[in-house]
Symmetry: C2
């Protein structure tokens, strides 16, 4: 139980955890991984704050400004960016609860446009998709997702496509989503499987 400053308690929700004891929360796992990368000075990659539109703020005497009315806003970019081996890194992370396919509607159109934009400028851009049922997390190059969307009328991408075109991300206790391993293989290894999807 966690006590919050407002005296409320957070209800503990039992989660199915994997054999490795990992929780189901992809965002938490990526943040843990990024904090570890930062702590060993391997990369500087952060999640952007959740965008909100603030409508009203109270300024009570002698205490912190309190936002009393705000709304969630659609993000215009992806959730994560930063720098690794002097390269600009940009990605979005999604959990998928299906057994069979990943719904493309979970990535917004302006996020796809953003990924295309940064790719043109030389970024390493990708998606991290966690298949919660299988407890498997795939690294997918943004280029491959974009090609799929152009070549297919489908509104979802089959699981088998992730198995063939994606890259299974390894996991350790300190780096639950060790995606830089995949980046090393794909972008920094001579003769790496950069062209797996071709």
């Amino acid at each position: 139980m966690v006590n919050y400053p407002n005296g409320k308690k957070k209800t503990y929700v039992t989660q199915r955890t994997s054999a490795g004891g990992r929780g189901m929360n992809l965002e938490k796992d990526i943040n843990t991984t990024n904090m570890f990368y930062l702590s060993i000075d391997k990369a500087v990659i952060h999640k952007k704050p959740t965008p909100v539109t603030i409508v009203s703020v109270d300024y009570p005497a002698r205490s912190a400004a309190k936002i009393t009315e705000a709304y969630f806003k659609l993000p215009s970019t992806t959730d994560y960016n930063g720098i690794y081996r002097a390269k600009y890194i940009d990605f979005e992370a999604k959990e998928c609860a299906s057994h069979t396919s990943f719904p493309l509607k979970s990535i917004h159109e302006h996020q796809i446009k953003h990924l295309q934009d940064v790719i043109r400028h030389g970024a390493i851009a990708f998606l991290i998709v966690k298949w919660t049922v299988f407890d498997e997390t795939y690294f997918v190059k943004a280029e491959d997702i974009i090609t799929f969307m152009k070549e297919n009328e489908r509104h979802s991408i089959p699981y088998t496509w992730f198995q063939t075109t994606g890259h299974l991300i390894p996991s350790t206790y300190v780096t639950p989503i060790d995606y830089l391993k995949i980046i090393d293989q794909l972008y920094f290894t001579l003769g790496g499987n950069h062209d797996k999807s071709k």
Copy 2:
């Protein structure tokens, strides 16, 4: 007057504007500039959302989730980042109302640490400081600010230092804070004044 969905009207506040007609709002000017850069496909640089800690959210039937209690959080990184000419770009922007000196307390310690972190990994990192009294906006390399802080006990940086070590940012109607001009000179020009501060 702008009408907001909640029926409230935004009060129009008269602002002192400069001879060039620019408003005093640095953030707005940088956003305008970044939107222009994006529109001509020159760079992809965005302001990160303001970080807030959300405490409670209402989910009224048939309408959008409403955040009813939230607080501003200290940012752990800088406000702006993105990609330009395949380089990772990272900066913070500050307005300064003084005639004489820029207070260093307006940059948080973890923001300085963040700038040091990204520099080590190969970023172009800097500060944009607008001296509102003079209507002058300077580009200052993060390295130069960090060196100043190491070599001086002062809690502020004199205006004259900005004149000698900083770089005055040009302004046009579509790019009110045309900072990529300075980046081109400092980082992409052979024989550019990269070492002005030395």
